[in-house]
Protein backbone atom coordinates (compact mmCIF):
# COMPACT_ATOMS: atom_id res chain seq x y z
CA UNK A 1 0.00 0.00 0.00
CA UNK A 2 1.64 3.16 -1.13
CA UNK A 3 1.79 6.07 1.22
CA UNK A 4 -0.23 8.67 -0.56
CA UNK A 5 1.15 11.46 1.54
CA UNK A 6 4.60 11.10 -0.02
CA UNK A 7 5.43 12.79 -3.27
CA UNK A 8 5.87 10.33 -6.14
CA UNK A 9 9.58 9.64 -6.51
CA UNK A 10 10.04 10.58 -10.10
CA UNK A 11 8.64 14.08 -9.77
CA UNK A 12 10.64 17.06 -8.73
CA UNK A 13 8.89 19.38 -6.38
CA UNK A 14 6.62 21.22 -8.73
CA UNK A 15 7.11 24.91 -8.73
CA UNK A 16 4.74 27.32 -10.24
CA UNK A 17 1.37 28.77 -9.62
CA UNK A 18 -0.72 25.62 -9.34
CA UNK A 19 1.59 24.00 -6.83
CA UNK A 20 1.15 27.06 -4.70
CA UNK A 21 -2.57 26.86 -5.03
CA UNK A 22 -2.57 23.23 -3.98
CA UNK A 23 -0.85 24.20 -0.76
CA UNK A 24 -2.82 27.30 0.05
CA UNK A 25 -6.30 26.68 1.39
CA UNK A 26 -7.68 30.09 0.63
CA UNK A 27 -6.36 30.12 -2.92
CA UNK A 28 -7.63 26.64 -3.64
CA UNK A 29 -10.98 27.55 -2.19
CA UNK A 30 -11.13 30.54 -4.51
CA UNK A 31 -10.58 28.35 -7.56
CA UNK A 32 -13.07 25.84 -6.30
CA UNK A 33 -15.77 28.43 -5.99
CA UNK A 34 -14.94 30.12 -9.27
CA UNK A 35 -16.97 27.86 -11.62
CA UNK A 36 -20.08 28.28 -9.52
CA UNK A 37 -19.47 31.98 -9.22
CA UNK A 38 -19.04 32.37 -12.97
CA UNK A 39 -22.18 30.38 -13.63
CA UNK A 40 -24.13 32.52 -11.21
CA UNK A 41 -22.72 35.72 -12.64
CA UNK A 42 -23.35 34.76 -16.22
CA UNK A 43 -26.72 33.09 -15.91
CA UNK A 44 -28.26 34.72 -12.90
CA UNK A 45 -26.83 38.10 -12.05
CA UNK A 46 -26.22 39.55 -15.47
CA UNK A 47 -29.59 38.37 -16.81
CA UNK A 48 -31.33 40.02 -13.87
CA UNK A 49 -29.97 43.35 -14.92
CA UNK A 50 -30.96 42.69 -18.48
CA UNK A 51 -34.41 41.82 -17.27
CA UNK A 52 -34.64 45.07 -15.39
CA UNK A 53 -33.58 46.90 -18.49
CA UNK A 54 -36.15 45.17 -20.66
CA UNK A 55 -38.92 45.58 -18.17
CA UNK A 56 -38.92 49.34 -18.54
CA UNK A 57 -39.31 49.18 -22.30
CA UNK A 58 -41.97 47.99 -24.70
CA UNK A 59 -39.53 45.67 -26.37
CA UNK A 60 -40.65 42.35 -27.81
CA UNK A 61 -38.75 40.05 -30.20
CA UNK A 62 -41.29 41.00 -32.83
CA UNK A 63 -40.29 44.64 -32.79
CA UNK A 64 -37.52 44.01 -35.28
CA UNK A 65 -34.80 45.65 -33.21
CA UNK A 66 -32.13 43.73 -31.29
CA UNK A 67 -32.55 43.71 -27.55
CA UNK A 68 -29.71 46.05 -26.72
CA UNK A 69 -31.52 48.77 -28.59
CA UNK A 70 -34.59 48.32 -26.46
CA UNK A 71 -34.06 51.81 -25.09
CA UNK A 72 -35.61 53.00 -28.31
CA UNK A 73 -38.96 51.87 -27.00
CA UNK A 74 -38.70 53.07 -23.45
CA UNK A 75 -41.82 52.72 -21.41
CA UNK A 76 -40.71 53.56 -17.91
CA UNK A 77 -42.94 51.95 -15.36
CA UNK A 78 -45.89 51.30 -17.63
CA UNK A 79 -45.43 47.55 -17.60
CA UNK A 80 -45.42 47.55 -13.85
CA UNK A 81 -48.49 49.66 -13.57
CA UNK A 82 -50.33 47.52 -16.06
CA UNK A 83 -49.65 44.39 -14.01
CA UNK A 84 -51.87 45.56 -11.24
CA UNK A 85 -54.90 46.14 -13.38
CA UNK A 86 -54.39 43.12 -15.59
CA UNK A 87 -57.24 40.77 -14.75
CA UNK A 88 -55.39 37.89 -16.25
CA UNK A 89 -52.52 38.34 -13.80
CA UNK A 90 -54.80 38.30 -10.81
CA UNK A 91 -56.73 35.42 -12.25
CA UNK A 92 -53.60 33.36 -12.73
CA UNK A 93 -52.42 34.19 -9.24
CA UNK A 94 -55.78 33.29 -7.80
CA UNK A 95 -55.92 29.98 -9.63
CA UNK A 96 -52.41 29.07 -8.58
CA UNK A 97 -53.26 29.77 -4.98
CA UNK A 98 -56.42 27.69 -5.18
CA UNK A 99 -54.43 24.77 -6.49
CA UNK A 100 -51.88 25.20 -3.73
CA UNK A 101 -54.45 25.53 -1.00
CA UNK A 102 -56.24 22.35 -2.03
CA UNK A 103 -53.40 20.17 -3.27
CA UNK A 104 -50.79 20.76 -0.60
CA UNK A 105 -52.97 20.01 2.46
CA UNK A 106 -54.46 17.03 0.64
CA UNK A 107 -50.97 15.69 -0.03
CA UNK A 108 -50.07 16.37 3.58
CA UNK A 109 -52.93 14.42 5.09
CA UNK A 110 -52.60 11.55 2.67
CA UNK A 111 -48.84 11.48 3.14
CA UNK A 112 -49.19 11.53 6.92
CA UNK A 113 -51.72 8.73 6.83
CA UNK A 114 -49.46 6.64 4.64
CA UNK A 115 -46.51 7.34 6.92
CA UNK A 116 -48.57 6.20 9.93
CA UNK A 117 -49.42 3.05 8.03
CA UNK A 118 -45.79 2.35 7.25
CA UNK A 119 -44.40 3.22 10.65
CA UNK A 120 -44.47 -0.31 12.07
CA UNK A 121 -42.92 -3.17 10.26
CA UNK A 122 -45.07 -5.65 8.39
CA UNK A 123 -44.36 -8.35 5.81
CA UNK A 124 -43.77 -6.82 2.42
CA UNK A 125 -43.22 -3.36 3.82
CA UNK A 126 -40.06 -2.74 1.79
CA UNK A 127 -41.66 -3.57 -1.52
CA UNK A 128 -44.78 -1.55 -0.90
CA UNK A 129 -42.61 1.32 0.27
CA UNK A 130 -40.71 1.41 -3.02
CA UNK A 131 -43.99 1.20 -4.88
CA UNK A 132 -45.41 4.12 -2.92
CA UNK A 133 -42.44 6.26 -3.90
CA UNK A 134 -42.74 5.67 -7.64
CA UNK A 135 -45.18 8.42 -8.62
CA UNK A 136 -42.81 11.19 -7.67
CA UNK A 137 -40.09 9.62 -9.78
CA UNK A 138 -42.16 9.73 -12.96
CA UNK A 139 -41.21 12.54 -15.34
CA UNK A 140 -43.81 15.26 -14.66
CA UNK A 141 -44.58 15.63 -18.35
CA UNK A 142 -45.33 11.91 -18.47
CA UNK A 143 -47.60 12.24 -15.44
CA UNK A 144 -49.38 14.94 -17.39
CA UNK A 145 -49.74 12.53 -20.28
CA UNK A 146 -51.02 9.73 -18.05
CA UNK A 147 -53.75 11.82 -16.56
CA UNK A 148 -54.51 13.35 -19.92
CA UNK A 149 -55.22 9.82 -21.14
CA UNK A 150 -57.17 8.93 -18.02
CA UNK A 151 -59.42 11.94 -18.07
CA UNK A 152 -60.40 11.76 -21.71
CA UNK A 153 -64.11 11.65 -22.30
CA UNK A 154 -63.55 8.33 -23.94
CA UNK A 155 -61.06 7.28 -21.32
CA UNK A 156 -60.98 4.83 -18.44
CA UNK A 157 -62.10 7.18 -15.65
CA UNK A 158 -65.44 7.77 -17.30
CA UNK A 159 -65.71 4.13 -18.28
CA UNK A 160 -64.97 2.84 -14.79
CA UNK A 161 -67.21 5.34 -13.09
CA UNK A 162 -70.02 4.61 -15.45
CA UNK A 163 -70.09 8.14 -16.77
CA UNK A 164 -71.11 9.00 -20.32
CA UNK A 165 -68.51 9.74 -22.92
CA UNK A 166 -69.71 13.31 -23.02
CA UNK A 167 -68.85 13.85 -19.37
CA UNK A 168 -65.78 15.97 -19.74
CA UNK A 169 -63.01 16.47 -17.26
CA UNK A 170 -60.34 18.44 -19.01
CA UNK A 171 -62.57 20.73 -20.97
CA UNK A 172 -65.18 21.39 -18.35
CA UNK A 173 -65.02 24.74 -16.67
CA UNK A 174 -65.08 23.35 -13.13
CA UNK A 175 -63.66 19.91 -13.50
CA UNK A 176 -60.47 20.90 -15.32
CA UNK A 177 -59.11 22.32 -12.10
CA UNK A 178 -60.06 19.20 -10.20
CA UNK A 179 -58.33 16.99 -12.75
CA UNK A 180 -55.12 18.96 -12.44
CA UNK A 181 -55.27 18.85 -8.66
CA UNK A 182 -55.84 15.11 -8.68
CA UNK A 183 -52.82 14.63 -10.92
CA UNK A 184 -50.66 16.79 -8.67
CA UNK A 185 -51.81 14.96 -5.55
CA UNK A 186 -51.09 11.61 -7.19
CA UNK A 187 -47.59 12.66 -8.13
CA UNK A 188 -46.47 14.42 -5.00
CA UNK A 189 -48.14 12.70 -2.06
CA UNK A 190 -45.22 10.23 -2.08
CA UNK A 191 -42.86 13.14 -1.37
CA UNK A 192 -44.86 14.08 1.71
CA UNK A 193 -44.95 10.42 2.64
CA UNK A 194 -41.19 10.12 2.29
CA UNK A 195 -40.40 13.17 4.39
CA UNK A 196 -43.02 12.59 7.06
CA UNK A 197 -42.09 8.95 7.48
CA UNK A 198 -38.44 9.88 7.91
CA UNK A 199 -39.52 12.31 10.59
CA UNK A 200 -41.74 9.75 12.27
CA UNK A 201 -39.01 7.16 12.43
CA UNK A 202 -36.71 9.76 13.96
CA UNK A 203 -38.75 9.70 17.13
CA UNK A 204 -36.81 7.70 19.76
CA UNK A 205 -38.31 4.24 19.94
CA UNK A 206 -37.77 3.74 23.63
CA UNK A 207 -39.83 6.84 24.41
CA UNK A 208 -42.60 5.39 22.28
CA UNK A 209 -42.32 2.11 24.14
CA UNK A 210 -42.38 3.92 27.48
CA UNK A 211 -45.56 5.67 26.38
CA UNK A 212 -47.11 2.34 25.45
CA UNK A 213 -46.18 0.82 28.77
CA UNK A 214 -47.84 3.72 30.51
CA UNK A 215 -51.04 2.75 28.82
CA UNK A 216 -51.09 5.12 25.87
CA UNK A 217 -52.92 3.75 22.85
CA UNK A 218 -51.22 3.96 19.47
CA UNK A 219 -53.38 6.91 18.55
CA UNK A 220 -52.73 8.75 21.82
CA UNK A 221 -49.02 8.20 21.50
CA UNK A 222 -49.16 9.46 17.94
CA UNK A 223 -50.81 12.70 19.02
CA UNK A 224 -48.81 13.33 22.17
CA UNK A 225 -45.36 11.97 21.40
CA UNK A 226 -44.82 11.56 17.66
CA UNK A 227 -46.60 14.58 16.27
CA UNK A 228 -45.10 17.17 18.64
CA UNK A 229 -41.65 15.88 17.82
CA UNK A 230 -42.32 16.21 14.10
CA UNK A 231 -42.99 19.93 14.05
CA UNK A 232 -39.81 20.83 12.19
CA UNK A 233 -40.21 18.04 9.67
CA UNK A 234 -43.79 19.00 8.97
CA UNK A 235 -42.78 22.59 8.38
CA UNK A 236 -40.06 21.52 5.94
CA UNK A 237 -42.41 19.27 4.02
CA UNK A 238 -45.10 21.94 3.73
CA UNK A 239 -42.76 24.72 2.67
CA UNK A 240 -40.97 22.58 0.10
CA UNK A 241 -44.18 21.42 -1.48
CA UNK A 242 -45.82 24.82 -1.39
CA UNK A 243 -42.88 26.40 -3.21
CA UNK A 244 -42.88 23.73 -5.91
CA UNK A 245 -46.65 23.79 -6.25
CA UNK A 246 -46.57 27.49 -6.91
CA UNK A 247 -44.36 26.81 -9.91
CA UNK A 248 -46.61 24.12 -11.37
CA UNK A 249 -46.42 23.98 -15.16
CA UNK A 250 -45.75 20.62 -16.82
CA UNK A 251 -48.87 18.89 -15.55
CA UNK A 252 -51.20 21.75 -16.31
CA UNK A 253 -49.86 22.59 -19.72
CA UNK A 254 -49.92 19.03 -20.99
CA UNK A 255 -53.31 18.20 -19.55
CA UNK A 256 -55.25 21.31 -20.37
CA UNK A 257 -52.90 23.91 -21.84
CA UNK A 258 -54.38 26.22 -19.22
CA UNK A 259 -57.85 25.74 -20.54
CA UNK A 260 -60.66 25.66 -21.07
CA UNK A 261 -60.09 29.30 -21.78
CA UNK A 262 -58.08 30.35 -18.78
CA UNK A 263 -59.74 28.08 -16.28
CA UNK A 264 -56.55 26.32 -15.27
CA UNK A 265 -54.11 29.03 -16.17
CA UNK A 266 -51.61 29.13 -13.37
CA UNK A 267 -48.92 31.76 -13.03
CA UNK A 268 -46.39 29.70 -14.94
CA UNK A 269 -48.82 28.81 -17.71
CA UNK A 270 -49.85 32.42 -18.00
CA UNK A 271 -46.25 33.56 -18.26
CA UNK A 272 -45.59 30.92 -20.88
CA UNK A 273 -48.51 32.03 -22.97
CA UNK A 274 -47.35 35.61 -22.72
CA UNK A 275 -43.90 34.51 -23.84
CA UNK A 276 -44.67 32.23 -26.76
CA UNK A 277 -48.23 33.12 -27.47
CA UNK A 278 -48.25 36.87 -27.43
CA UNK A 279 -44.51 37.50 -27.30
CA UNK A 280 -44.91 40.28 -24.76
CA UNK A 281 -41.44 39.73 -23.48
CA UNK A 282 -40.89 43.02 -21.73
CA UNK A 283 -44.18 42.60 -19.91
CA UNK A 284 -43.13 39.13 -18.80
CA UNK A 285 -39.82 40.62 -17.71
CA UNK A 286 -41.64 43.10 -15.49
CA UNK A 287 -43.97 40.43 -14.15
CA UNK A 288 -41.01 38.20 -13.44
CA UNK A 289 -39.25 40.84 -11.43
CA UNK A 290 -42.37 41.58 -9.44
CA UNK A 291 -42.76 37.90 -8.62
CA UNK A 292 -39.09 37.73 -7.65
CA UNK A 293 -39.48 40.70 -5.40
CA UNK A 294 -42.58 39.43 -3.61
CA UNK A 295 -41.27 35.90 -3.16
CA UNK A 296 -37.94 37.16 -1.84
CA UNK A 297 -39.69 39.22 0.79
CA UNK A 298 -41.83 36.27 1.86
CA UNK A 299 -38.74 34.05 2.01
CA UNK A 300 -36.81 36.63 4.02
CA UNK A 301 -39.68 37.01 6.49
CA UNK A 302 -39.92 33.24 6.76
CA UNK A 303 -36.23 32.86 7.45
CA UNK A 304 -36.31 35.61 10.05
CA UNK A 305 -39.21 33.83 11.75
CA UNK A 306 -37.33 30.53 11.80
CA UNK A 307 -34.19 32.20 13.09
CA UNK A 308 -36.17 33.70 15.92
CA UNK A 309 -37.82 30.38 16.78
CA UNK A 310 -34.49 28.61 16.99
CA UNK A 311 -33.24 31.27 19.30
Amino acid sequence: MTDITKQPENSTKKQGYWAGVARDGKKMGFWFILPTFLLLLFIVIFPLFMQLYLSVTWWTPLEGIPWYRAWEVFSWGDNYVFQFTDERVWGALWRTIIIMVIAVPAQFFLGMSLAYLFMDNFPGRKIFYSLMLTPMMIVPAVVGLMFYLLFQGTGPVNAHLGLPVTFSWLTDVNRAMISVIIADVWQWTPLMFLILLAGMLGVPSDQLMAAKLLGGSNWQNFLKIILPRMKAVIAIALVLRAVECFKIFDLVYIMTKGGPGVQTETISVFLYKMTFGEFEWSYVAALGLTILFVLSIIAAKGLAYIAKKDG
Binding site: L40, L240, T275
Partner: protein, 285 residues
Protein backbone atom coordinates in the same frame (compact mmCIF):
# COMPACT_ATOMS: atom_id res chain seq x y z
CA UNK B 1 -45.56 -7.43 20.06
CA UNK B 2 -48.82 -8.86 19.07
CA UNK B 3 -50.89 -7.02 16.53
CA UNK B 4 -54.45 -8.14 16.35
CA UNK B 5 -55.33 -9.87 13.08
CA UNK B 6 -58.10 -7.40 12.44
CA UNK B 7 -55.70 -4.47 12.77
CA UNK B 8 -53.29 -6.18 10.39
CA UNK B 9 -56.08 -6.84 7.91
CA UNK B 10 -57.11 -3.19 8.05
CA UNK B 11 -53.53 -2.11 7.47
CA UNK B 12 -53.19 -4.35 4.44
CA UNK B 13 -56.48 -3.09 3.11
CA UNK B 14 -55.26 0.48 3.13
CA UNK B 15 -51.83 -0.42 1.80
CA UNK B 16 -53.33 -2.36 -1.07
CA UNK B 17 -55.83 0.41 -1.76
CA UNK B 18 -53.02 2.96 -1.92
CA UNK B 19 -51.01 0.62 -4.15
CA UNK B 20 -53.94 0.32 -6.49
CA UNK B 21 -54.18 4.09 -6.78
CA UNK B 22 -50.48 4.32 -7.47
CA UNK B 23 -50.63 1.64 -10.13
CA UNK B 24 -53.82 2.75 -11.90
CA UNK B 25 -52.37 5.50 -14.12
CA UNK B 26 -49.10 3.63 -14.62
CA UNK B 27 -50.68 0.40 -15.71
CA UNK B 28 -53.06 2.27 -17.96
CA UNK B 29 -50.22 4.00 -19.76
CA UNK B 30 -48.14 0.85 -20.05
CA UNK B 31 -50.98 -1.19 -21.49
CA UNK B 32 -51.94 1.69 -23.75
CA UNK B 33 -48.51 1.57 -25.32
CA UNK B 34 -49.26 -1.93 -26.52
CA UNK B 35 -52.72 -1.20 -27.83
CA UNK B 36 -53.57 -0.76 -31.50
CA UNK B 37 -55.48 2.29 -32.70
CA UNK B 38 -59.06 1.04 -32.29
CA UNK B 39 -58.49 0.24 -28.63
CA UNK B 40 -57.33 3.67 -27.64
CA UNK B 41 -60.76 4.89 -26.56
CA UNK B 42 -64.02 3.54 -25.29
CA UNK B 43 -65.52 3.77 -28.74
CA UNK B 44 -64.74 0.13 -29.34
CA UNK B 45 -65.12 -0.97 -25.72
CA UNK B 46 -62.46 -0.32 -23.13
CA UNK B 47 -60.26 -2.99 -21.64
CA UNK B 48 -57.20 -3.04 -19.44
CA UNK B 49 -55.21 -5.54 -21.41
CA UNK B 50 -55.04 -5.05 -25.14
CA UNK B 51 -57.30 -7.45 -27.03
CA UNK B 52 -54.80 -7.42 -29.85
CA UNK B 53 -51.48 -6.51 -28.31
CA UNK B 54 -49.13 -4.91 -30.75
CA UNK B 55 -45.68 -3.43 -30.98
CA UNK B 56 -46.96 -1.02 -33.59
CA UNK B 57 -46.62 2.01 -31.36
CA UNK B 58 -43.03 1.28 -30.50
CA UNK B 59 -42.25 0.47 -34.12
CA UNK B 60 -43.72 3.76 -35.10
CA UNK B 61 -41.65 5.89 -32.81
CA UNK B 62 -38.48 3.95 -33.48
CA UNK B 63 -38.70 3.75 -37.23
CA UNK B 64 -40.96 6.60 -38.12
CA UNK B 65 -43.53 4.32 -39.67
CA UNK B 66 -45.25 1.06 -38.94
CA UNK B 67 -47.22 -1.63 -40.70
CA UNK B 68 -50.83 -0.83 -41.11
CA UNK B 69 -50.42 2.85 -40.39
CA UNK B 70 -50.83 5.46 -43.01
CA UNK B 71 -49.08 8.30 -41.23
CA UNK B 72 -45.38 8.57 -40.74
CA UNK B 73 -43.07 10.78 -38.83
CA UNK B 74 -40.28 12.94 -40.10
CA UNK B 75 -38.30 12.14 -37.02
CA UNK B 76 -37.90 9.10 -34.83
CA UNK B 77 -37.27 8.78 -31.14
CA UNK B 78 -33.54 8.56 -31.74
CA UNK B 79 -32.99 12.30 -31.92
CA UNK B 80 -34.92 13.30 -28.81
CA UNK B 81 -33.54 10.38 -26.87
CA UNK B 82 -29.98 11.37 -27.63
CA UNK B 83 -30.84 14.98 -26.91
CA UNK B 84 -32.20 14.08 -23.50
CA UNK B 85 -29.23 11.86 -22.79
CA UNK B 86 -26.54 14.31 -23.88
CA UNK B 87 -28.03 17.38 -22.23
CA UNK B 88 -28.84 15.53 -19.02
CA UNK B 89 -25.37 14.04 -18.76
CA UNK B 90 -23.60 17.31 -19.56
CA UNK B 91 -25.85 19.29 -17.28
CA UNK B 92 -25.24 16.75 -14.54
CA UNK B 93 -21.49 16.93 -15.04
CA UNK B 94 -21.55 20.69 -14.81
CA UNK B 95 -23.78 20.82 -11.74
CA UNK B 96 -21.95 18.09 -9.88
CA UNK B 97 -18.44 19.42 -10.56
CA UNK B 98 -19.30 23.03 -9.79
CA UNK B 99 -21.51 22.06 -6.88
CA UNK B 100 -19.01 19.65 -5.31
CA UNK B 101 -16.06 22.01 -5.56
CA UNK B 102 -17.87 25.04 -4.23
CA UNK B 103 -19.55 22.98 -1.53
CA UNK B 104 -16.18 21.68 -0.33
CA UNK B 105 -14.69 25.15 -0.32
CA UNK B 106 -17.65 26.40 1.67
CA UNK B 107 -17.57 23.56 4.21
CA UNK B 108 -13.83 23.27 4.72
CA UNK B 109 -12.53 26.75 4.15
CA UNK B 110 -15.54 28.71 5.25
CA UNK B 111 -15.50 30.74 2.07
CA UNK B 112 -18.49 32.40 0.49
CA UNK B 113 -20.75 31.98 3.48
CA UNK B 114 -23.70 33.44 1.57
CA UNK B 115 -23.40 30.84 -1.15
CA UNK B 116 -25.53 28.10 0.43
CA UNK B 117 -28.50 30.34 0.93
CA UNK B 118 -28.23 32.20 -2.35
CA UNK B 119 -27.96 28.97 -4.22
CA UNK B 120 -31.02 27.71 -2.38
CA UNK B 121 -32.95 30.80 -3.40
CA UNK B 122 -32.52 29.85 -7.04
CA UNK B 123 -35.08 27.12 -6.47
CA UNK B 124 -37.61 29.51 -5.06
CA UNK B 125 -38.62 31.26 -8.29
CA UNK B 126 -40.80 30.05 -11.15
CA UNK B 127 -38.42 29.51 -14.07
CA UNK B 128 -40.47 31.65 -16.40
CA UNK B 129 -40.08 34.62 -14.13
CA UNK B 130 -36.37 34.69 -14.92
CA UNK B 131 -36.00 33.03 -18.30
CA UNK B 132 -36.71 35.97 -20.60
CA UNK B 133 -33.22 37.44 -20.43
CA UNK B 134 -31.73 33.97 -20.75
CA UNK B 135 -33.71 33.35 -23.90
CA UNK B 136 -32.61 36.68 -25.29
CA UNK B 137 -28.99 35.96 -24.42
CA UNK B 138 -29.16 32.48 -25.83
CA UNK B 139 -30.62 33.75 -29.06
CA UNK B 140 -27.90 36.35 -29.22
CA UNK B 141 -25.18 33.77 -28.58
CA UNK B 142 -26.66 31.24 -30.96
CA UNK B 143 -27.18 28.85 -28.10
CA UNK B 144 -30.80 28.13 -28.84
CA UNK B 145 -31.48 24.60 -30.02
CA UNK B 146 -27.96 23.46 -29.17
CA UNK B 147 -26.80 20.75 -26.81
CA UNK B 148 -24.50 23.06 -24.93
CA UNK B 149 -27.05 25.79 -24.55
CA UNK B 150 -29.50 23.50 -22.81
CA UNK B 151 -26.80 21.70 -20.81
CA UNK B 152 -25.59 25.01 -19.45
CA UNK B 153 -29.04 25.89 -18.15
CA UNK B 154 -29.51 22.40 -16.74
CA UNK B 155 -26.22 22.77 -14.92
CA UNK B 156 -27.12 25.98 -13.17
CA UNK B 157 -30.68 24.96 -12.36
CA UNK B 158 -29.68 21.75 -10.60
CA UNK B 159 -26.51 23.12 -9.04
CA UNK B 160 -28.32 23.95 -5.77
CA UNK B 161 -29.23 20.30 -5.32
CA UNK B 162 -25.70 19.15 -6.06
CA UNK B 163 -24.28 21.76 -3.72
CA UNK B 164 -26.46 20.92 -0.74
CA UNK B 165 -26.35 17.19 -1.24
CA UNK B 166 -22.55 17.12 -1.37
CA UNK B 167 -22.48 19.46 1.58
CA UNK B 168 -24.21 16.82 3.70
CA UNK B 169 -21.77 14.19 2.55
CA UNK B 170 -18.78 16.40 3.23
CA UNK B 171 -20.15 17.20 6.68
CA UNK B 172 -20.02 13.50 7.44
CA UNK B 173 -16.30 13.22 6.73
CA UNK B 174 -14.60 13.69 10.10
CA UNK B 175 -12.25 16.62 9.88
CA UNK B 176 -9.69 14.65 11.90
CA UNK B 177 -8.95 12.46 8.88
CA UNK B 178 -8.12 15.48 6.77
CA UNK B 179 -6.14 17.08 9.57
CA UNK B 180 -4.11 13.92 10.00
CA UNK B 181 -3.25 13.96 6.32
CA UNK B 182 -2.35 17.64 6.48
CA UNK B 183 -0.07 17.03 9.44
CA UNK B 184 1.60 14.22 7.48
CA UNK B 185 2.47 16.72 4.80
CA UNK B 186 -0.33 16.59 2.23
CA UNK B 187 -1.25 19.73 0.39
CA UNK B 188 -4.87 20.86 0.46
CA UNK B 189 -5.39 19.55 -3.02
CA UNK B 190 -3.96 16.14 -2.12
CA UNK B 191 -6.20 15.91 0.88
CA UNK B 192 -9.23 16.69 -1.22
CA UNK B 193 -8.37 14.50 -4.15
CA UNK B 194 -6.78 11.52 -2.45
CA UNK B 195 -8.60 11.39 0.86
CA UNK B 196 -11.93 13.21 0.94
CA UNK B 197 -13.16 12.40 -2.54
CA UNK B 198 -12.66 8.64 -2.21
CA UNK B 199 -14.59 8.73 1.05
CA UNK B 200 -17.56 10.53 -0.49
CA UNK B 201 -17.47 8.50 -3.70
CA UNK B 202 -20.82 6.79 -2.99
CA UNK B 203 -22.28 10.19 -2.14
CA UNK B 204 -20.93 11.55 -5.40
CA UNK B 205 -22.59 8.74 -7.31
CA UNK B 206 -25.85 9.37 -5.53
CA UNK B 207 -25.58 13.07 -6.28
CA UNK B 208 -24.92 12.44 -9.97
CA UNK B 209 -27.87 10.10 -10.30
CA UNK B 210 -30.13 12.47 -8.40
CA UNK B 211 -29.21 15.47 -10.56
CA UNK B 212 -29.50 13.35 -13.69
CA UNK B 213 -33.07 12.45 -12.76
CA UNK B 214 -33.91 16.12 -12.34
CA UNK B 215 -32.38 17.11 -15.67
CA UNK B 216 -33.92 14.23 -17.57
CA UNK B 217 -37.33 15.12 -16.13
CA UNK B 218 -37.25 18.70 -17.33
CA UNK B 219 -39.90 19.90 -19.71
CA UNK B 220 -40.21 23.68 -19.50
CA UNK B 221 -36.58 24.64 -20.07
CA UNK B 222 -36.28 22.40 -23.08
CA UNK B 223 -39.54 23.80 -24.36
CA UNK B 224 -38.14 27.30 -24.15
CA UNK B 225 -34.65 26.71 -25.46
CA UNK B 226 -34.99 24.05 -28.14
CA UNK B 227 -36.86 24.07 -31.42
CA UNK B 228 -36.15 21.13 -33.61
CA UNK B 229 -32.71 19.59 -33.55
CA UNK B 230 -32.22 19.24 -29.83
CA UNK B 231 -35.75 18.69 -28.62
CA UNK B 232 -35.71 16.39 -25.60
CA UNK B 233 -37.91 13.36 -24.96
CA UNK B 234 -40.59 15.04 -22.81
CA UNK B 235 -40.98 17.87 -25.33
CA UNK B 236 -41.04 15.46 -28.24
CA UNK B 237 -43.67 13.41 -26.46
CA UNK B 238 -45.84 16.45 -25.91
CA UNK B 239 -45.47 17.88 -29.40
CA UNK B 240 -46.33 14.55 -30.90
CA UNK B 241 -49.74 15.24 -29.53
CA UNK B 242 -50.34 18.56 -31.09
CA UNK B 243 -48.68 17.71 -34.38
CA UNK B 244 -51.20 15.01 -35.26
CA UNK B 245 -54.22 16.57 -33.68
CA UNK B 246 -53.87 14.75 -30.39
CA UNK B 247 -54.96 11.26 -31.27
CA UNK B 248 -51.68 9.41 -31.02
CA UNK B 249 -52.41 7.92 -27.65
CA UNK B 250 -50.59 4.68 -28.23
CA UNK B 251 -47.43 6.35 -29.47
CA UNK B 252 -47.47 8.94 -26.75
CA UNK B 253 -47.90 6.20 -24.19
CA UNK B 254 -44.98 4.32 -25.67
CA UNK B 255 -42.85 7.45 -25.49
CA UNK B 256 -44.01 8.08 -21.95
CA UNK B 257 -43.03 4.60 -20.88
CA UNK B 258 -39.58 4.95 -22.40
CA UNK B 259 -39.03 8.41 -20.96
CA UNK B 260 -40.18 7.35 -17.50
CA UNK B 261 -37.92 4.35 -17.10
CA UNK B 262 -34.47 5.89 -16.39
CA UNK B 263 -35.59 8.17 -13.53
CA UNK B 264 -37.56 5.38 -11.88
CA UNK B 265 -34.65 2.96 -12.10
CA UNK B 266 -32.16 5.49 -10.81
CA UNK B 267 -34.60 6.74 -8.22
CA UNK B 268 -35.04 3.28 -6.76
CA UNK B 269 -31.28 2.84 -6.76
CA UNK B 270 -30.72 5.92 -4.65
CA UNK B 271 -33.89 5.47 -2.63
CA UNK B 272 -32.04 5.66 0.65
CA UNK B 273 -30.80 9.16 -0.07
CA UNK B 274 -33.90 10.66 -1.61
CA UNK B 275 -34.96 12.44 1.58
CA UNK B 276 -31.56 14.00 1.88
CA UNK B 277 -31.54 15.29 -1.67
CA UNK B 278 -35.09 16.55 -1.73
CA UNK B 279 -34.89 18.43 1.57
CA UNK B 280 -31.48 19.91 0.76
CA UNK B 281 -29.91 17.96 3.57
CA UNK B 282 -32.35 19.01 6.26
CA UNK B 283 -33.42 15.43 6.82
CA UNK B 284 -31.75 12.08 6.58
CA UNK B 285 -33.24 8.66 6.28
Amino acid sequence: MKVSPSAMALKYFFVLFASAIVLYPLVWMITMSFKPYPEWTTVAGLTWLPKNPTLQNFEFIFFGEAKGLVVSLDRTIAGPFIASLVTSVCGTLLAVVAGTLSSYACVRFGLAKTLPLSVLQLRLFPPLAVMIPVMVMWAFLGAVDTWWGLSLIYGIVTLPFAFWLMKTFFDEVPIEIEDAARVAGCSYWRVFYRITLPIVKPGLATCALFVFILNWSDYLLALLLTQKDWVTLPVYMATLTSAMGGQMYGMKAALGVIAAIPPVVFGLMIQKHLVRGLTFGALKQ
